[in-house]
C-alpha cells in the first residue's frame, strides 16, 4: 500500500564531482561459453559523477561484460560490487540495487505506449501489489499519480513528452533510443549502462545524445558507455577502457588510449612484413581520432 520511492541516485552533483567514490567495481570478471572465453579477468571501476567509455573491436566481449554486470549472465569467475555490496546474478535485483541499462538492439516494449514504457521502468521503485490494485485504495491512486508525474518528468527531460500516447514501435529510430534511456532512468539508478547509444544515428542525433548523457551525469548518475563512435567517446568520457579479445588492454584518459599502439593494432591489425611503417601508422592514428571508426560493419 505504501509508496516508497528510494532515491538511489549518487547524491547531488556537487558531492559527486568532489570525491571519487567507486560506484561500480568489477574485479576479475571472467565469462566462458564452453571452450570460448568471452571475457577474461577484467577489472573496471566507475566512480560517482564519472562517464567511463568501453571500446573495442566487434566481438571483443563488451556486451558480454555488460551482461555480466547486469545479471543477465552469471560470470564464471569474479565479483561485481555496487556501492560496496556484491551484486546478485539476477537482473531484476541488479536494477533494484541501482544499475539500469539500455540494449544494443533496442528492446522497448513495442506495443506499449511511450508513457507505459517509462512507467514499467518505475516498477522497482513502487510497491503496490495485486491487492492494492484490486482494492484501489487512496494509496494506490497516490502512487499511480506519483509514478506518472515522475515518468512525465523523464519524458520532458528526453524531449518525448509530446509523444506520450504513441506506441513505442511507431517512434522514429532516434526517439526509440531516447525512450530506452528515459525508461532506464525511471528506476532512479546510480549507474547507467548504455550499450551503443548512438549506433545508426546521424552526426546531429549523436550530438543530441552526447548532450543528454552530460545532462544525466549532471544529475549525479555515473555512466558506463559502450560505443564505436570514437569522436563521441573521446568527447564524452573521463576515462576509456579498451577491451580486446575479452581482455582489458589499456585504461586511461582519451589521450592515453589514443596514443597506445596496441589499440591501433587491435582495430586496424598489425602491419604485415615489409609494408606500412611507423609513419603510416601515425597517419592512421591521426585519421582515426577524427573519424568515426568502426561505424561500418557494426550493425549486426
Amino acid at each position: 500500500m505504501t509508496t516508497d520511492i528510494e532515491p538511489t541516485g549518487a547524491g547531488s552533483p556537487k558531492a559527486a564531482a568532489g570525491t571519487a567514490v567507486p560506484v561500480l567495481q568489477a574485479t576479475g570478471v571472467t565469462k566462458k561459453f564452453g571452450g570460448l572465453t568471452a571475457v577474461q579477468n577484467v577489472d573496471l571501476q566507475v566512480n560517482t559523477g564519472e562517464i567511463v567509455g568501453l571500446i573495442g573491436p566487434n566481438g571483443a566481449g563488451k556486451t558480454t561484460f555488460f551482461n555480466c554486470l547486469t545479471g543477465l549472465y552469471v560470470p564464471t569467475d569474479g565479483t561485481v560490487t555496487y556501492k560496496g555490496t556484491v551484486l546478485p546474478h539476477q537482473s531484476h535485483l541488479v536494477t533494484k540495487a541501482g544499475i539500469a541499462r539500455t540494449f544494443q538492439n533496442i528492446r522497448l516494449f513495442a506495443n506499449m505506449t511511450v508513457l507505459e514504457n517509462v512507467l514499467v521502468g518505475r516498477h522497482t521503485r513502487t510497491k503496490e501489489g495485486l491487492w492494492s490494485a484490486l482494492l484501489r485504495g487512496p494509496g494506490f491512486k497516490k502512487a499511480e499519480k506519483e509514478s506518472e508525474e515522475r515518468a512525465m518528468e523523464l519524458l520532458e527531460f528526453t524531449g518525448l513528452a509530446a509523444k506520450r500516447d504513441h506506441l513505442a514501435r511507431n517512434l522514429p529510430y532516434g526517439e526509440q533510443r531516447k525512450l530506452e534511456i528515459a525508461r532506464a532512468l525511471a528506476s532512479d539508478p546510480g549507474l547507467l549502462l548504455l550499450d551503443e547509444p548512438t549506433a545508426g544515428m546521424n552526426p546531429q542525433e549523436t550530438r543530441t545524445t552526447q548532450d543528454l548523457v552530460f545532462a544525466i551525469r549532471d544529475q549525479g548518475i555515473a555512466v558506463l558507455v559502450i560505443e564505436h563512435d570514437m569522436r563521441f567517446i573521446f568527447n564524452l568520457c573521463d576515462r576509456v577502457a579498451v577491451l580486446v579479445q575479452g581482455e582489458k588492454l589499456v585504461e586511461g584518459t582519451a589521450e592515453v588510449v589514443q596514443a597506445d599502439e596496441r589499440v591501433v593494432a587491435a582495430y586496424l591489425g598489425t602491419p604485415y612484413e615489409g609494408a606500412p611503417g611507423a609513419e603510416e601508422v601515425s597517419e592512421v592514428e591521426a585519421a582515426e581520432a577524427h573519424s568515426t571508426v568502426g561505424k561500418e560493419g557494426d550493425t549486426k
Binding site: 556486451t63 551482461n67 547486469t70 543477465l72 539476477q90 537482473s91 531484476h92 536494477t95 533494484k96 539500469a100 541499462r101 540494449f103 544494443q104 538492439n105 533496442i106 528492446r107 522497448l108 516494449f109 513495442a110 506495443n111 506499449m112 505506449t113 507505459e116 512507467l119 514499467v120 521502468g121 518505475r122 516498477h123 522497482t124 513502487t126 503496490e128 501489489g129 495485486l130 492494492s132 490494485a133 484490486l134 484501489r136 494506490f140 502512487a143 499511480e144 509514478s147 504513441h166 506506441l167 514501435r169 511507431n170 517512434l171 522514429p172 529510430y173 526509440q176 525508461r183 532506464a184 528506476s187 545508426g200 549486426k300
Partner: protein, 598 residues
C-alpha cells in the same frame, strides 16, 4: 504541354478515384437502391411459400413472419442508410463515417438473408415449385438493391489509378474515420448509451430465442453484415467515444442489460443457454488474464474449472460425494477457488520457467493429467475420491438465504426458472471477474504483465521479477476459473471427468476457451464475452452441423486471423499494432525492435 495534359486529366481522374464496382450514374444508383429496398420491404408482406412446414410460417399475406422479418429489417435499414447517404435531413447522424459502404453492406446482408431463405425453402420442401410469387419478388428486389448499391461510388478514393473490378469491390467497403461529434447534453448521451445496450440485448435475445436452425442462419447473416455496416458507418466509433466519456454509465448499462436477460425469457431452456454462455465467458475472461495480459499460452486451462467444480461437488452434500460434507455456498466457493489456486501454483512453479511453445505443451499435458487422475480416483485404480468416470452426480441445488435456486420464483410478475436463477448468480461472479480483470490490467502489475509479454529479458532488466509475476498471473487465472467452477457444478448437477477434455463438441473446454479469447480479442474485457457467446450459441443452435463443427471452427479462425488479427474487439494497443493509426513517421517494418541478441 505537360501542364495541359495534367489539367485535362484531373476532372475525370477525380471521378475515377471513387469509381464504383458497376459503372452507374450515382443518382441512378441511389434511386435504384432505394426502390429496390422498398420493393424488398413490400415483398415481405406477401406469401413466400404455400405451406407452414417451413419454419416461421411464411405463408400469410400481409403478416411477415420468421425469416421475412429479417429481410424486412435489412431492407428497412438499407433504405434508411440510402436516405442518410443522400443527405435527407434528420438522418445524417446515421452515417458520420462511410456513406455508401454501409448501404452496400446492408444490401448484401438483405440479399444474403433473402436468397438464403428462398434457397432453403426450395431445398427443404423439394423444388422451386414450393415458392409463391412473393418469394420471387423478394429475391429479384433484393438482387436489384444489391446491384444498385454496387453502383454507388466508393467512400474512400482509390490508391491505384485504374483499379480492376476486385480492387474496386474491396475499396467499396472502406470508410473514412468520422470526425468528432458535436457534444450533446449529458442526459442525451447517457440515453444513447442506454438505447445502444437495449438494442444489443434485443438482438442477443432474438438470436437465443430463434426456434429453427434456418432462422438462426438468416439471423447470423444479417447480424454479421449489419454489424460491419454499422462500424463502417462510423457509429461504433461515435458510441465508443461516448462510452469512454461515461465509463461508469456504460458499465452499469452493460450489467443492467445482462441482468434483464432472464426477464425476457419465458422458456427456461433458452435461459440455460444464457447461463452456460455466462459460465463459458467468465472462464474465458479468466484465461484472458493469463493469455491476453501475461502472454502465457495455457492449453490446459479447463483443468482449473474442473478443480473448482470437483471441490464444490465434494463439499456440496451430494449423496455420491465421498466426503459427505455439506458446506455453505460461500465456503464452497472459497474452497473451490483455494484448491484451484493451490493447483495453479503447483503446476505453475515448475512450468513457468519454460517459454512459449514449451509452456503450451506442458500445460496441455497437465490438463490431461487432471482429467485422467479424476477418472482413476475411482477406488480400483486408486483411492476412491471422485467415483471415476461416473463422476459426482445429484449435486443438490443451492439454497441462498432461504431462496432455493432450483425452484421457479416469480419476480416482478415474471417467472424465473432454475436456469434463470443460476444465471443471476453467475452474473455476480462475472462482475467480480470483470472487476478483477480491469483493475489488475490498469495497474503496476498489469503493466508488468504486458511488459513480460512484449519482451521478457527487457522486462527483467527493468527490475521486474518475471517469474513471480508470471506465477501471479497463472495463479490469479486459476483462482477465477475455480470460482466459476463452483457454480458450474451446481448448474450441471453432475461433475464428470469427460466435461474437462482438451477439445470436444460442447464448450467450455481448453481449446474453445482459447478460441473465445482469440476470436473476441486478447487483452480486452468485452472480447472474450462476445467470443464466448458466439462460440456457444452457434453450435447450440446449429446442431445439424455438429459433425463439421470443428472444421468450420478452424476455417473461421483462419479467416479471422487473416482479415482481423486483433480479434473482433480490438485492444487499444492491438488496434495501433495492426492498423494504420495516423501516427506518422512510423518506421516500416521492425527497424531496431528485433529480439535477436542481448
Amino acid at each position: 504541354m505537360t501542364t495541359t495534359t495534367s489539367e485535362t486529366t484531373t476532372a475525370p481522374a477525380a471521378h475515377r478515384e471513387h469509381r464504383p464496382v458497376i459503372g452507374l450514374p450515382p443518382t441512378a444508383a441511389s434511386i435504384g437502391a432505394a426502390v429496390g429496398a422498398v420493393v424488398t420491404f413490400a415483398s415481405t408482406f406477401l406469401a413466400w411459400t404455400w405451406t407452414a412446414e417451413f419454419p416461421g410460417d411464411l405463408t400469410v399475406t400481409g403478416y411477415p413472419g420468421g425469416l421475412q422479418l429479417l429481410t424486412l429489417t435489412g431492407a428497412l435499414l438499407t433504405l434508411l442508410f440510402v436516405a442518410a447517404g443522400y443527405g435527407v435531413r434528420g438522418l445524417c447522424w446515421l452515417s458520420p463515417g462511410g456513406k455508401n459502404g454501409p448501404v452496400l453492406l446492408f444490401a448484401l446482408g438483405t440479399f444474403a438473408t433473402t436468397w438464403y431463405t428462398v434457397i432453403a425453402i426450395a431445398v427443404k420442401l423439394g423444388g422451386l415449385a414450393n415458392l409463391e410469387p412473393g418469394g420471387y419478388v423478394a429475391a429479384v428486389a433484393s438482387l436489384i438493391t444489391l446491384v444498385a448499391a454496387l453502383g454507388l461510388p466508393s467512400d474512400v478514393a482509390h490508391e491505384h489509378p485504374s483499379p480492376n473490378a476486385w480492387q474496386r469491390f474491396v475499396q467499396s467497403f472502406k470508410a473514412p474515420t468520422p470526425e468528432e461529434a458535436a457534444p450533446l447534453p449529458g442526459w442525451a448521451e447517457i440515453l444513447i448509451i442506454a438505447a445502444a445496450f437495449g438494442l444489443g440485448l434485443f438482438v442477443f435475445t432474438y438470436g437465443i430465442d430463434t426456434e429453427a436452425a434456418e432462422l438462426f442462419i438468416g439471423y447470423i447473416l444479417l447480424v454479421a453484415f449489419g454489424a460491419t455496416a454499422v462500424s463502417r458507418a462510423g457509429l461504433n466509433r461515435r458510441l465508443a467515444s461516448l462510452t469512454s466519456k461515461h465509463k461508469n454509465v456504460t458499465v452499469t448499462a452493460a450489467f443492467v442489460s445482462a441482468f434483464a436477460f432472464p426477464f425476457t425469457q419465458s422458456n427456461d431452456a433458452y435461459a440455460s443457454i444464457g447461463t452456460n454462455i455466462l459460465i463459458f465467458a467468465t472462464v474465458a475472461l479468466g484465461l484472458n488474464v493469463v493469455v491476453g495480459l501475461a502472454g502465457l499460452l495455457d492449453l490446459g486451462y479447463v483443468a482449473f474449472l474442473g478443480v473448482g467444480a470437483y471441490t464444490a461437488a465434494l463439499v456440496s452434500g451430494s449423496p455420491s460425494s465421498t466426503i459427505g460434507l455439506q458446506l455453505p455456498f460461500w465456503a464452497a466457493v472459497l474452497c473451490g477457488a483455494g484448491a484451484s489456486l493451490i493447483f495453479g501454483v503447483v503446476i505453475g512453479a515448475p512450468t513457468l520457467r519454460l517459454h512459449g511453445d514449451y509452456l503450451a505443451i506442458v500445460t496441455l499435458g497437465f490438463g490431461e493429467i487432471f482429467r485422467i487422475t479424476m477418472q482413476n480416483l475411482d477406488g480400483s485404480s486408486g483411492p476412491d475420491v471422485t467415483n471415476g468416470s461416473n463422476g459426482i452426480p445429484n449435486i443438490p441445488d443451492l439454497d441462498l438465504f432461504g431462496f432455493n435456486l432450483g425452484e421457479p420464483h416469480t419476480i416482478l410478475g415474471v417467472e424465473l426458472g432454475r436456469f434463470s436463477n443460476y444465471y443471476l448468480l453467475m452474473l455476480l461472479f462475472t462482475i467480480i471477474v470483470v472487476t478483477v480483470f480491469r483493475r489488475s490490467d490498469q495497474s503496476r502489475i498489469g503493466r508488468a504483465w504486458v511488459a513480460i509479454r512484449e519482451d521478457e529479458t527487457a522486462a527483467r532488466a527493468m527490475g521486474i521479477n518475471a517469474f513471480r509475476l508470471k506465477l501471479l498471473a497463472f495463479a490469479l487465472g486459476a483462482t477465477l476459473a475455480g470460482m466459476a467452477g463452483t457454480v458450474q457444478a451446481h448448474v450441471t448437477f453432475t461433475v464428470t471427468p469427460a466435461q474437462y477434455k482438451f477439445v470436444e463438441a460442447v464448450p467450455p473446454n481448453s481449446a474453445f476457451l482459447l478460441a473465445a479469447v482469440i476470436l473476441g480479442g486478447m487483452g480486452t474485457v468485452s472480447g472474450p464475452l462476445i467470443g464466448a457467446s458466439l462460440l456457444y450459441l452457434i453450435p447450440a443452435k446449429l446442431q445439424f452441423m455438429s459433425d463439421y463443427q470443428l472444421l468450420l471452427f478452424g476455417i473461421a479462425l483462419i479467416l479471422l486471423m487473416r482479415f482481423r488479427p486483433e480479434g473482433l474487439i480490438a485492444d487499444r494497443r492491438k488496434q495501433l499494432e495492426f492498423h494504420e493509426t495516423g501516427q506518422l513517421d512510423a518506421p516500416k517494418g521492425d527497424i531496431g525492435l528485433s529480439k535477436a541478441g542481448v
